[in-house]
Structures are given as C-alpha cells and as structure tokens.
Amino acid sequence: MTRTPVAPSPFDDAVLAAADTVQQEIRRDLLDRIGREAAVVAAAPAGAGKSHFVADTIGMLRGKGHRVAVVAPTNEQVHSLVERITDLHPGLPVAFVHAQGRDLSPTIAARPGVSQPSARDARDHRESLVAATVDKLADAHLRDGLGDFDVLVIDEAYQADAARYYTAAAVAPTHLLVGDSGQLDPFSTLDDPTFWRGGSEDPLQTAVGVLLRNHPTTALHRLPITRRLDQRAVPVARSFYPGHHFDAAVVDGARELRLDRPGPGTRGFATVDRALDEAAASGWAHVTLPGGSVLTADPATADLILHLVTRLLERGARSRYEEKKDFHPVRPAAIAIGVSHNDQKDLLRALLDDAGLNGIAVDTANRLQGLTYEVIVAWHPLAGAAVTDAFHLDPGRLCVLLTRHQQACIVVGRDSDRALLDGVPPATPGYLGWDPDPVLDGWDAHESVFDLLEPHRVIA
C-alpha cells in the first residue's frame, strides 16, 4: 500500500482560507440584517462543519447581546447542537426546550449553563438562548407564546419543510438558515404529495426553498469546503452538488485506515477481506452479490454486511487522522450501517445485537443526516431492486449514505443494480416553478456514482 507522505500540515490552507472568507461574509450579512425581516442562507456540502459554524455564530451573536433561538428538525440534531455550543462556549446558558421523553443525555444536561425548562418557564425567564426542534419551538410559540427573539438560527434547513418553518419563522425577524442541499428533501407519508408542487404555498418545499421563492434577493452563500470527507471521497460527493464547488479541508494522506491482521482469512472471508483491503487502501469498496431481484430486507445482503463489520473489527482496524495523528483502534461506535428501509434496519439491528455488536449504529438515511462516522457500510438503495422508483433513486438518500464517513465507505449491492439504469430514464411529470426531479436527478447521480465506484468493485 503506497500513500503520499503526510504533508507538514494536514490541512489545505487555501481551502480553509476560502471557507473562512465565506463564513465571515455570512456573519457580516447576518449582523447587517439584525432588527429587520431578512435572512441569510448558508448552503454547505456534506461535512462542511455546519454545526461548528452554527455554534460559533451563536456564540458571536450572544456576545453581542442578541437573543437567539436555534432549531433543527430532529431531537438528535438539537442534542448535538447543544453539545457543540457548550463545547465551544463552556458555561454559556443554553435552554433546551423539549417534548416529553426527549431530554438531553445526563452528561450534556449536567454541563454548566445547560438547562431544560418548560416552554412557559423559558418564556417567563426570557431565556437568551433557546434550543429546540422546529416542531417544539413552533408549538411553544403557539401554545405558550415563547418568542420575541432577535435571531432564529435553523440548522439542517434543507431538511425542514415550509409547513414547519411557518410557525417557527414568527419567533424572530432575522433568520440564519444553514443546511446541506444534497441531503434528503422533506418527505410526506401521503401517496401523492405533489398537489401543491410548484406553488409558493407548497408545504413540502424546504425552508430555504420557500424563503428564496418569496424573497429571491436573500443573501445565499455556499461554503466551499468539506471537513468530514477527504480528497478520495470528494469526487463522489460532488455528484450530489451540481454547481457548488468545494474541496476537502484535509490534504491527501492526512487520514489512514490500517488493518493490523492480514487478509484473506478463511475462504469464506475472502470476499470480505478483499473489500476491507480495498476500502482501507482507497477509501471506497463496492461489494456486489450475484445479480437478481430480492426482498427489501434481503438476508444475504444483511449477512454480508454483518461479516464486513465483524471482520473489520477482527482484523484490528486502526486509523489516524488530522486531529489524532497516532493510530487508534476503530471502535464499534465509530462504525455505522446506513440503509433505506426500516425492515433492513431491524434485521441488521437484530443480527448485530446477536453478534454482540450493539455499539455499531444502524439507521436509515433520514436519521443519519448530519452524523459522522469513521467507517460506513452503506446498503445501496437499488440493491436487488426489480425496478427503479423515485424513492430509491432519490439522490439525497444516496448522498447521505455515501458522505457520512471520514475514512472509508463500503457500498453493498448486487451485480444487477447498475443494469437498472440501462436505457433512458422514465418520463416524469414536470411542475411549473419546481426544478428538482428526484428521478432524473437521481438517475444522473446514481450513474455517476456507479462509474466512480467501478475501480473499487469487489465481486462477491
């Protein structure tokens, strides 16, 4: 395994400087707008350090005495924000307003400055920094009158829909929307959620979408950096962000995944070992089982994934990266499995638990958004499918699955998956005033990703 020698600094200074310039512009624009009904949008690729930027910006706003509400779509995301804010600004008062049973973990809750008041108490005490989910803040505003903030900060704003933004938007005149445009759009459980599509009233457009639709002159900044992904991962990631240029913050060779024990092991593990070696060497492996249409929760695919993660740990995976230059063992908690369906998740969860690997996370793409792991095993959305459809082609789903990792991503599918994209894509309905098309955009993104993964293909 030959790798470029590690540069004196693990970071690409030009990329960092470009990102810093954009971040300063965002903060300047935001401060210029405070007190007015105006917003600033910060669009970022996967792993751009949005949460860090949000936490840092909140500290800056609080330092200037502004009352701030910070929201994200899910509780897990808000928990993470509270953690990040208190990491960066120890002791800064943060009031986490939450629904029943959604408390912070005891370790975060015990940090100085962190409180978990009721909405009414947060209102009565005029908490200066409130964190909540978009839904909870909206409910607290309608039910208890929590509001009157100077700035509303929305993290994961491309995941929040216009309907949820409707109420939350009223808590402050000035907004900062930060999000990743490549991730999954808001979704609905309805069979046909297209009734309003293309209209400015569409409740399922993103928070950023409704804002830019009604206020097209809103300041929009694009962060030109990904801190999570390294240079090996960036070409794949770019497939999901057409028109948005970005580079990796770390230079080539700054990260390394090493398997202490050599493969291949027994004959049964030969494929698994080849896949792990390929992933360790190049950051990618695309393992394909024999072609064919299979059930969504295919036991063979689940078994292969289980073997991959078991063997990864057995072979003594160790890694180093820019912040930890010495090799350290890859723990189960640094590994995640990304899937598209809950039945895939349940099957894998049960298999992992039986194997004593309950530290390994397994979740659907929707719930992995915003999270980072060292190694990801991604169950390809098209794996063993008989036909393609909008759900499985959605570029956002593939983007989430393939952009969570710092070291390596192992994609598991079937030989026949690529053939699903043979020929021309299907005709799809068009909507005036609505540009994205999950089927056609997904078709392009999937083709591009299959091409990029081809050199890393391991046939099972």
């Binding site: 009904e37 917003a39 408390d103 409910d139 309608l142 039910r143 216009a162 309907a163 933004y165 409707y166 109420t167 938007a169 009223a170 005149p173 907004h175 609905s188 459980t189 309805l190 069979d191 046909d192 959620p193 009734f195 309003w196 209209g199 400015s200 009233e201 569409d202 409740p203 399922l204 928070a207 409704v210 804002l211 009604n214 206020h215 097209p216 002159t217 059930l295 969504t296 929760a297 809950n342 039945d343 998740k345 349940d346 099957l347 969860r349 049960a350 638990d353």
Partner: protein
C-alpha cells in the same frame, strides 16, 4: 405494500386464473343511493367535457352533450341540467342534520351525497370542470346560470376532498377495486375499470389474463377518448358545426346535435352498466367497523361545505401557505389512521405488516403486571408480556409496538427476543401503568404492530397571518380570468386578496 405478498398474489392469481380478494372486509363506505357521473372529454381539449352522464347508480342516466363544447353558449346550455341536478342532490342530502357524537352542535348532515365515478382520471376531469365553472365571470353583463357556478364549487370541493385517505364522498371505482382485489395488472393497467373487472370476473373458462387483454382492446371507459373515438367525434362535430352555421339557438341546434348525443350514448351505456355491476359487487362485502367513523368525517366536511356555499362563501383558487400546511397535516393524520384501522380490523390487511416485520402475532404465554422498573428517577409499575410467536421474528430491542386491541393507547416496548420452538419468544414491556383493558390474558392469540390510531398531541391551528418568509416580497401579478381563453373578452376576475372582506374567501 409487501413485496413478498405481491409476489404471492401474482403467483396465486396466475395459477387460479382470476383475481383474489386482498381484504375480508370493505373499507370504503358505500351509500344506498350514490350519484354516478361519467365524463368524456374532447380529444386535445382537457378542460371541456364533451359529454356528461349522470344519475343514480343502478338506474337510468341522463346525458348532456353540447355538440360543440368550445362554444360557451352551447356548453353552458348543455351543462345546466346536470349542474341543476347536482346542486339539488347536494342540497337534498344536506337538508337533514343530527347532533354530533361529541359536543352540542346539531350541524352534522344525516347523510352526504356520494359521487361514484369510473376512475381517478374522471376525478381529475371533474376537478378541472369544477375549477372552470366555479369562477366563471359575467359576459357582457349576463351572468351564467347560477347552478353552473354552484355545481362548479361542489365539484371543486368533491375533487379536493378526494385526496383524504379513506374518504368515501367521491368513489373512483378503479381505486375501490384495486384496494380490494389482487390482480395481475400494473398500476397503469388498473386505471381501466373494464380490465380490472375482467380479471375479477372473467368469463367461464377464460383466464384472467386473456379476459383483461380482450377488455383492454374492446372497452372504452373515458374520460380520455381513444384515437378512433376521437376521429369519429371530430367528423360528427365538424358536420354539426357546418350545419348549425354559427347558430346557438336551442330549437335549431337540438335536432342537429342528435348524432353526437347518440355517439356518446353508445359510449356511456357500457360504462354505466359496468359501474353499477362493480359497485354492487363491492357493496355486498361486509363493511369494516371504521367506515362509519370515516364517513362521519366526510359528512362533517360535506355539511361545512354546503353551509359555506349557502352563505355565499367562495373558495380561493390557490391555497394560502397556512391552508396548505394545515391540510398536509390533516391528510397525513388521516392516512396513518386509515392504514392502521384497515389492518387492525381486517386480518388480511395485517398480513403485509406481519411479513415486513412491522407486526407480530402469537399466543400470550404470560402477563406479569407488577414489574418494577426505573423511569427517569422514579421506580414505576409496569407490565411484562411474554408472547410466543408462530414464526421466528426479527425485532430489535426497544422497538415500540401497539397491541391491536389498544392501538389508541400506549405502546409496548420489545425487551428481548429468543428462539422458542418453531417461532420466537418475545418479551415486551408496557410503557405506561398497567390498568384493566391494557393487558391481554394468558393463552389469548394477539397481534402487536407499529400501527396506532391516535397521533401524538393536538396540534394547534397556525397563526392566520403568515410570517414574512411565507409572503412574497413583491405583489404577484393580477390573475388572469379563469375563462380568458373563451372567444369574447371577459370581465376582469375578482382578486380575492383585494376585496373589502377577505374573510368571504376560504
């Protein structure tokens, strides 16, 4: 829908040669006196109904044919009897009110007029017709027949209500059949009612596949004309226009339009019979208990609509962001409750959930109702349920499942899963205090699933004034009148946002 179940049905239907029931119950309320409508469009003109047939399902239909539907006078003259009958039927159904189950208001209609159409395309066609008629402007100071505007509002209401999952105010028969029957047809093929019917009741000795192939070749359902129908229609309309020589006089036109009426009568008759037959077949199936609840929701919406129209209310052409957001929430709640009610009441509808790992079924081995555990900081009493399933199940610890008998209440949480005989032994813990009615008895056969019939909390209505983010920075251009494409220049349409009393618009 479970892939495994679909594969099973495809194999069985192919083997047996006819469609199979997906359900043991009927999950749509079907009334005793539904109002049937059949529409045929003019090829290339999606916004005009070339023919409309209406009447009681199972009875005789009336037929409105304009001859030249692109002529406003002829079009309106032909549609007015249909509009008047529809308005009378709606008002008649809404005339008698009863008290609601909850509260003291007595504004719930005893019944609601149920519209029955052949397919979802007809719902779309009626929606366009309703949208056109509901917003007609005066022409040279002459107002269109008020029945046309009122019927337009009714059609607009019905076709928008069609989006509510599980509703029964407007029943497209293709969906009704596809919901209740497993066939060999793709979703696109299922849009043809005759093809569906051919697979459900193929002629004796004919395989469902062959029967539906023949039906696909021979049957025309509408509202879109096929090429051969359109060619014939074009010839007839051209002859009609030549002979009327620009006249719109009823006495002159009536005899000339007869060949076109006859043309459409021949098209409507088989569809009308087919609708009656398929409706009666589904009506014979016992109704699921929850259809009554869902039709009460329909009746409530119907009553509110009729009251709004009677009070001179108008509807916006486009929802406000607030309306759209609240409607989305309402529809999603209706969807999840409908799915849950279907599966809980009908064992056949629970099968896909069992196959997909979203439900488990087995025998209660033991119930321990005095288990103590720590919830946050307190020791609380909980119940533990040990269930032996018939087949091995894959369930992660911590997964929440609702017992079908208490699907409106608190869930059970999976504590452990272990092999037991041919199946699994699943231990679950109730997530709330064990009380009578919440606990099954030992030896009982029960089902637990991810389905529940009550959502979390009661969301509040959104603020009437949208935030600045949801309002356009600049005023949008004035809307074009809805009938701007007509020959004569219409009067300007009313801009709802500019009227003195915006509350007049819902």
């Amino acid at each position: 829908m479970s892939t495994a179940l679909e594969a099973f049905f495809a194999g069985r239907v192919h083997e047996g040669g006819r469609a199979l029931r997906r359900t043991t119950l009927r999950h749509t309320h079907l009334t005793d006196s539904p109002f049937g409508i059949v529409v045929w469009r003019l090829g290339g003109e999606r916004f005009r109904a070339a023919a409309v047939a209406w009447g009681p399902i199972g009875g005789q239909f009336q037929l409105a044919v304009a001859g030249e539907p692109r002529n406003r006078d002829l079009y309106f003259a032909a549609l007015t009897p249909f509009a008047a009958d529809l308005c009378a039927a709606v008002r008649g159904a809404a005339a008698h009110r009863v008290a609601r189950q909850r509260g003291s208001r007595t504004d719930l209609p005893v019944n609601a007029l149920q519209l029955v159409v052949a397919n979802r395309s007809t719902v779309g066609a009626l929606g366009l017709l309703g949208r056109y008629l509901a917003y007609l402007s005066d022409r040279g100071g002459v107002a269109p027949d008020p029945h046309l505007l009122e019927a337009g509002k009714h059609l607009r209401f019905y076709t928008r209500h069609a989006r509510v999952p599980g509703q029964a105010l407007i029943v497209p028969l293709d969906r009704l059949l596809a919901d209740h029957w497993a066939t060999l047809l793709s979703p696109l093929e299922q849009a043809n009612l005759a093809v569906l019917d051919a697979q459900i009741e193929p002629p004796r000795g004919v395989h469902a596949f062959d029967a539906s192939t023949r039906a696909e070749r021979e049957a025309h359902i509408g509202p879109e004309p096929t090429e051969d129908i359109d060619r014939l229609t074009t010839e007839l309309v051209q002859t009609f226009n030549r002979r009327r020589a620009g006249s719109v006089d009823r006495r002159t036109v009536a005899p000339l339009v007869a060949p076109i009426v006859e043309h459409y009568r021949r098209l409507v008759e088989p569809v009308w019979d087919l609708m009656a037959r398929t409706f009666a077949r589904e009506q014979a199936l016992p109704a699921a208990p929850s259809v009554t609840r869902r039709f009460e929701v329909d009746r409530e919406a119907f009553g509110q609509h009729v009251d709004w129209i009677a009070g001179g209310g108008r509807y916006r052409t486009i929802d406000t962001p607030r309306q759209a957001a609240m409607t989305l929430r309402r529809l999603e709640e209706a969807q999840s409750r409908y799915e849950a009610e279907r599966a809980i009441e009908d064992p056949a509808c629970m099968v896909p959930f069992l196959l997909d790992g979203d439900a488990i079924r087995g025998t209660v081995e033991k119930v321990h109702d005095n288990h103590r555990t720590v919830a946050r900081v307190r020791i609380v009493q909980r119940a533990l349920l040990t269930l032996d399933t018939d087949h091995p199940v894959v369930l992660p610890v911590g997964k929440k499942l609702w017992w079908t008998a208490t699907a409106h209440d608190a869930p059970w949480e999976v504590v452990s899963v272990s092999p037991q005989g041919d199946g699994s032994r699943v231990v679950l813990m109730l997530t709330t205090a064990p009380r009578a009615g919440r606990l099954p008895t030992a030896g009982a056969r029960i089902t637990l699933s991810t389905l529940r019939t009550r959502s979390d909390g009661f969301p509040l209505p959104l603020a009437p004034t949208p935030p600045w983010t949801h309002q356009p920075a600049t005023t949008p251009p004035a809307p074009e009148p809805i009938d701007a494409g007509d020959a004569e220049a219409p009067l300007p349409a009313v801009d709802g946002s500019a009227v003195a009393d915006p509350e007049a618009y819902r």
